[in-house]
């Protein structure tokens, strides 16, 4: 069959902006089988598969897309999940434009193949009709502990369970998923779907201990004492960073983590039916330009804010968020105040009333390769807001490093690992995800979890009883 040479992706149906800002339902509605087949035929089935090299977990992209084009969605799902245990999630939150799709040959003239959209379609299709059957795996009885039930830990757990290990995930919160549950909002990643996909990925008998904080409830050394042979640490970079500017402790200033956790995990959007409140003014400024900033801004809009601003010190080109999120945010009426940096949060009677900012301009490139923002002289101005949400990333939680002797960490708190194996300086301890890299993406964390699982297996397989 000749490939479909349309230069553009088959559009994905979406809720209209004016409707969706009033609800928390998912924005993108997903392809129909016909649309998916049509998009799949845009794939040229390149022999050299450049897209696969762009994927941190090496999904067999042309292979699964071929099955979609043939209408064999079950087989497409099987191919897809040989390398990725959380495809419904990745299809929605991966930055495809800088990974697989960035390397797609079709992208040279027109738009790349909609790999993310197809991944999502296949996963959703399979989830609708997935059977509860569990593949028979021969258990080897070797116990491995996973600290943190986010994307890195879940992937590592799933891979090891598949290899027959007796895996236990220790999770600090009352729900698995980490940032997938507390961070990414419902309208971008429905929580029912996350729960379902996680359950599917763990159906190989992974044990789950919720409400256990490694470093507090039990230490890594105690885990070894309890008979675990290896530990994977995937606790994320959950300690929110603040700007360290005046007024940051005023009432009405949130970290994005607090704001989003209240709304997503604790369902504050449903207050008072949900007991956790979230307090928000009519004018909201979100500091930062990443996905979390977009999520916070769009959440504030849905909670009823009249004016929502993204305040970012560089220009649009440097915004680290996914293109789709920026596009959606703009459609929903979020105002971007670019080349703007807050210097002070002003308040009255203890509550935020405004934010003082300076204008920036771009100077010479800095160590990140991006042009360094420089303050324009005497450009200070104040704009009125009642709520400020700080979304400038985070650093690793100190609990593990404080309680694990022999674990080498970077100055900023990240765990030092050998990048090929994710092995730490402490024997039989591996780490991956944001706790190693600092705030990054779901898929990079999953890639690290997968790499660690492979290395753990290599280290422990000679212990498997014959």
């Amino acid at each position: 069959m000749a490939p479909n040479m349309s230069p553009r992706k088959v559009p994905i149906p979406e809720q209209k902006p004016e409707e969706r800002v009033k609800n928390f339902n998912e924005v993108a509605l997903g392809y129909t089988p016909e649309q998916a087949k049509e998009e799949a035929t845009r794939c040229l089935q390149c022999k050299h598969r450049p897209c696969v090299a762009g994927c941190p977990v090496n999904v067999l992209i042309p292979e699964f897309i071929k099955k979609v084009s043939e209408g064999d969605f079950d087989e497409a799902y099987r191919v897809l999940t040989t390398e990725n245990s959380l495809p419904a999630i990745c299809g929605r939150v991966c930055p495809q434009e800088t990974q697989c799709e960035a390397l797609c040959v079709r992208g040279k003239k027109g738009e790349p193949v909609g790999i993310g959209r197809l991944e999502r379609f296949v996963a959703d299709y399979a989830m609708e009709k997935r059977s509860g059957e569990v593949p028979a795996i021969e258990k080897n009885g070797i116990r491995v502990a996973i600290a943190g039930g986010g994307p890195a830990g879940l992937t590592c757990a799933g891979e090891l369970a598949r290899l027959g290990y007796d895996v236990t995930i220790f999770e600090a919160l009352h729900a698995l998923g980490g940032v997938l549950m507390y961070g990414i909002p419902e309208f971008r990643l429905p929580k029912k779907l996350v729960e379902k996909e996680i359950a599917g990925a763990l159906k190989l008998g992974v044990k789950i201990e919720k409400n256990v904080i490694i470093g507090k409830s039990i230490t890594i050394d105690e885990l070894f004492g309890d008979g675990f042979k290896a530990v994977f640490v995937g606790c994320g970079a959950g300690l929110p960073s603040f700007m360290k500017i005046e007024g940051e402790n005023l009432n009405g200033v949130y970290s994005a983590n607090e704001f989003l956790t209240r709304v997503n995990l604790m369902k504050a959007y449903d207050f008072p039916r949900s007991p956790t409140p979230v307090r928000m003014g009519k004018r909201v400024a979100v500091i930062g330009g990443g996905n979390v900033a977009m999520d916070a801004a769009r959440t504030a809009k849905r909670l009823g804010a009249d004016e929502v601003y993204i305040v970012y010190r560089r220009s649009e080109k440097e915004l680290p968020a996914r293109l789709e999120e920026i596009h959606h945010a703009k459609e929903e009426g979020i105002v971007f105040r670019l080349l703007t940096n807050p210097v002070k949060i002003v308040g009255k009677d203890g509550w935020v009333t405004g934010m003082e900012c300076v204008e920036m301009e771009l100077g010479e490139p800095d160590e990140s390769g991006r042009r360094r923002p420089v303050v324009k002289k005497e450009s200070n101005f104040v704009f009125p807001v009642e709520t400020v949400i700080v979304a400038i990333g985070g650093t690793p939680n100190p609990l593990i490093r404080q309680t694990t002797p022999g674990l080498e960490v970077q100055k900023w708190g990240g765990i030092v690992v050998d990048e090929a194996t994710m092995k730490t300086s402490k024997e039989n301890v591996y780490a991956g995800g944001d706790i190693v890299t600092g705030a990054a993406t779901v898929i990079l964390a999953m890639g690290a979890g997968k790499k660690a699982a492979k290395a753990i297996h290599e280290a422990l397989q000679n212990k498997i009883p014959a």
Binding site: L173, I218, T261, T276, P277
Partner: protein
């Protein structure tokens, strides 16, 4: 699920529950706290730990029924379970082998004070105590403290028990009468800790306070409990909950605790109110 092994009323408004929670009990130390959710729809609330028994795997919590979630908790009976119970959170109190220490417990603040003073006594420190509350009914744990405290002074706002007056009046009287203490450990309403700290600063008397403000996760994830201590922003959940009483910005803390005041029916904070 975490089983409620026993439950009793300490007064009209304050209750004690013993919960089976082996992970918490195993590593618990004085000064630490837990976060619990009563049921799957519940909010996460921080509560201080009054007692723990590693061998039995049990933890006892004492709480005042002040808002939506503590009311829900109060409806639970022995034999029933609560959905989530996580800890021990926060840093254990740094207890020093002093000669003599005085504890000050305001209202339910007596509960987290109890394990700290008991441990000090075990370490051979002479321990005195001032228990304060609005009235007689609100004085809790007196008998337990009597078991080891050298001197116990009770103050009530209305004079219905002990001396009429505030804990600070009693502390002032004791210090000015020539009593020497190496440290004051004050736990109670923020306003009480503020005034105790103001007083002890005058005497240059080392003072430790315990903060327990709004917390969502208790693991440093949200930053909702930030507080200025010595000019630096700290997170009460991971850097505390104990801080040098002379360095805490109490006015900011009280303001931050009032953040959800209008939603008080659903009080998401369990302040240590007297």
């Amino acid at each position: 699920m975490y089983e409620i092994l026993s439950k009793k009323k300490l007064n009209n408004n304050v209750e004690e529950m013993v919960i089976r929670a082996p992970y918490v009990a195993r590593r618990c130390e004085p000064g630490q706290f837990v976060i619990l959710r009563v049921d799957d729809e519940g909010e996460r609330i921080p509560l201080t730990i009054a007692e723990y028994d590693a061998a039995q795997g049990t933890v006892s919590i004492i709480y005042q029924v002040v808002g939506f979630s503590t009311r829900k908790l109060s409806e639970k009976k022995a034999g029933e379970s609560i959905a989530d119970f996580v800890g021990p959170l926060g840093r254990p109190t740094q207890l020093h082998a002093h000669k003599r220490v005085i504890g000050i417990g305001g209202g339910v603040g007596a509960a987290p004070l109890y394990p700290q003073l008991r441990k000090l006594n075990d370490m051979g420190v002479a321990v005195d105590l001032i228990l304060g509350a609005r009235n007689k009914d609100l004085i809790i744990l007196e008998d337990k403290f009597r078991a080891f405290c050298k001197n116990i002074y009770i103050t009530t706002d209305d004079g219905s028990y002990g001396t009429k007056g505030l804990v600070t009046d009693k502390l002032k009287e004791l210090v000015e009468a020539g009593n020497r203490y190496d440290e004051v450990i004050a736990i109670g309403p923020v306003i009480m800790m503020k005034f105790v700290s103001l007083l002890t600063r005058k005497y240059n008397l080392k003072t430790s306070v315990s903060l327990n403000p709004v917390m969502i996760d208790g693991t440093g994830m949200c930053g909702g409990c930030r507080v200025t201590v010595g000019g630096e922003t700290k997170f009460a959940c991971v850097d505390g909950p104990d801080f040098d009483g002379h360095l805490v910005d109490y006015d900011e803390l009280m303001r931050r605790q009032g953040m959800y005041k209008t939603e008080e029916a659903h009080a998401c904070k369990i302040g240590l109110k007297g």
